[in-house]
Amino acid sequence: MENFHQYDVIVVGGGGAGLMAAMYASRTAKTAVISKLYPVRSHTGAAQGGIGAALGNLEEDRPEWHTFDTVKGSDYLGDQDAIEFMCNEAVQAVYDLEHMGLPFSRTADGRIAQRPFGGHTNNVTGKPVRRSCYAADRTGHMILQTLYQQCIKNQIVFYDEFQAMDVLIRDGKVAGVVAVELATGELHVFQAKAVVIATGGHGRMWEITSNAYAYTGDGAAIVARRGIPLEDMEFFQFHPTGIYKLGILITEAVRGEGGILFNGKGERFMEKYAPRIKDLASRDVVSRAMYLETRAGNDVNGQRFFYLDVTPETVNKYAELDGRTRPDGTPYRVTAEEIRSKIPDITDFCVTYLGIDPTREPIPVQPTAHYAMGGIPTNKFGEVVIDSQNTVLPGLYAAGEVACVSVHGANRLGTNSLVDLIVFGKHSGLRAAEYALGADFTPLPDDPTGYVREQIDRLRTGSGKERAAQIGRELRSTMFDLVGVFRTEEGLTQAMEKIQELRARFREVRVADSGKVFNMELMQTWELGNLLDLALVTTRSALERRESRGAHARDDFPARDDVNWLKHTLAWLEGDSVKLDYKPVVITRYQPKERTY
């Protein structure tokens, strides 16, 4: 067979999770990474604020507190065994990154600098704790660069600009991956004993989003079409501070450094919703507060946005009111220069895209689609589990944003995705290699590229009555309006109908470019198909969940309902319909309590 490759472990995705997995798998097993983007283009590079770990470099902190904050942040839907594991491992993971060369910002005594972040607290006082380890406001960039550098050092094999389109499964075991080489349009078959999916999220189905164009949920859609369920897809995080209209993220670190949110009346509205930690409440809480303020007519000029003010005058005024101090006990006061040095990239975004200097003028912000809590179900070793009994599918692993371990439950805390990538990326890589060394290759199915060719043929031979771009636009506005921060039975039902209509219309699309070399039209149309599949699963899961929890807020069921809904959703895509089942949440130490900040 032409274009045939054989590896013990294939990692699909070259972001933070994929590179970690590859580095650890390659220590013992023959490993390669397939990535549709050059690895350094991955969205991990966009992460700004930091990576959470209880190093305690500036004040007392403990992994148990990180664990509890994460459980609470998840609105008790996170699996507590996995959360505890992650928060314990986080500390070593951050030291490992430093040893690999990551240029963290430093404290005066030369240690890794840390700052407060939403939902991270001292469990005794309830006050914000400095837990987010950072490299200015480009922590993700530094993680991605550092891991890529280490991969070069360790001579990891990369198939850059290869896009995976199918995972091959035979007799209940993984057999390999089919990918298209973008530069030639050729299909390649990678036979592998173990496959790690690390393809990132799917936030491109919403109109206002912080997510990259590449965030089209390929990995989740590929496995869903192969009969694997997706977990908790109704939980998608809207970050409260996206740049108005553009969606570009303004990290929570801006509030960590003292920035304050104001409504159209100039009120610090978070005081009403989170009296204790105010502007640093969890993201779901702040996004919802903005929605409620908008509904009450308190947005700025009736235009559905708010102001995030990080000018020194405002920061200092409220730091004084809140009695905020520095680690040495002196009052917290800042200058414009200090703010700029803490958030240089954010300053640059504001200047470039808004023409404003954030140390002089407030930033107009609105909630922006940000992070997929749901995804491919795994256990804490990264093994993909395919039913409510947590049955493992041998050889298949998932890590990073595409996976649902679940450590984020109904709402992810800031800085916890980067922890997730590093910890579960590493462990899925180790597990995959260990498994591969004890396993044989599963024989490939008879026509390994058959299903991919079928999908491509369909896109090339449609009637051409419909245009992909128009379907994409309608999908994004439907999802933003009806499956966004607040949801209702009526809206979700309407969204279901619309998505079905769009799916039917999608079958009439025809890709005009018949070429092979970098046929981006073909690939992007295929990606739209992935989003349509995941939108269906998301909306159906959301319609069924008749409660409000974390990022899933139902106007018609405003309360959390632990009696009926303290459980994970599992959703199987079956053609144009979705089959649902549920599995229990793992609760070890922390019984669900009411969640206030």
Binding site: H43, M100, Y213, Y353, A469, G515, V517, F518, Q524
Partner: protein, 236 residues
């Protein structure tokens, strides 16, 4: 406002030579040039090929020439260009594969040649914690850590156009990032590599790179610091 967008087109499977397609469109002055290219794909010609991902200047995918100068298409707004005709072309000095997509192979090869990773085989701190580094030591090389490997600098450099074996500014920036990191022990090796014929001495201080860098890295200065380290044999 109305603009005339001229886009370089080349399909290796069909075309003998490149051409320019022109699109007249109504745009917002605040639109990014990347938005314009996406409008072309959505409403005029879906076959237009380019690389892009983050759309806000952090992934390095969409460096290209806009009105004759290198930019990230997602980081230059229509109003910044002060022109009603906008011409978009692929980077110079790298082979065009299709439309705005160039072969990044030589660029990444040059990058890898300078050993762009931390070299330090000394034992880690006994407590297992971080190696210490003062804020001053960290600030010494912070600027060059910002590089996103977009190639805007290297492909604006006349020395690189003349010979693509020249490692180019981006590779030197990434060498600088390690040479001046107090935790690194590989400076000598890298300085030797950069002292070779295709190394830093090809730099003629044209300053094009510094102007092109979307991350505002003072590249010419970084190169000068590397040159100085080679000459003096001291990393300061």
């Amino acid at each position: 406002m109305q603009v005339k967008l001229r886009v370089f087109r080349f399909d290796p499977e069909k075309d003998q030579k490149p051409r320019y397609d022109t699109f007249i469109m109504n745009v917002d002055p605040n639109d990014r040039v990347l938005d314009l290219l996406e409008y072309v794909k959505a409403d005029f010609d879906p076959s237009l090929a380019l690389r892009r991902s983050c759309a806000h200047g952090v992934c390095g995918s969409d460096a290209m020439r806009v009105n004759g100068r290198n930019y990230l298409a997602c980081k230059v707004l229509v109003k910044n260009l002060n022109a009603d005709t906008i011409t978009v072309e692929p980077l110079l000095g790298l082979r065009v594969i299709k439309d705005l997509i160039v072969d990044m192979g030589p660029f990444f090869e040059n990058y890898r040649s300078v050993l762009p990773y931390l070299i330090n085989d000394e034992p880690l701190p006994a407590d297992g914690k971080e190696r210490l580094q003062t804020p001053e030591q960290q600030m010494r090389f912070e600027e060059t850590t910002k590089c996103i490997l977009c190639a805007a600098c290297t492909t604006s450099c006349p020395s690189f156009w003349a010979d693509d074996r020249y490692v180019g500014p981006a590779a030197i920036v990434n060498a600088h990032r390690f040479i001046f990191d107090s935790r690194d022990r590989g400076a000598e090796k890298r300085l030797n590599i950069l002292n070779e014929q295709i190394g830093v001495w090809r730099c003629r201080t044209a300053f094009n790179c510094t102007e092109a860098c979307p991350r505002d890295i003072h590249i010419t200065q970084a190169i000068a610091e590397v040159k100085k380290a080679i000459i003096t044999g001291k990393v300061e």
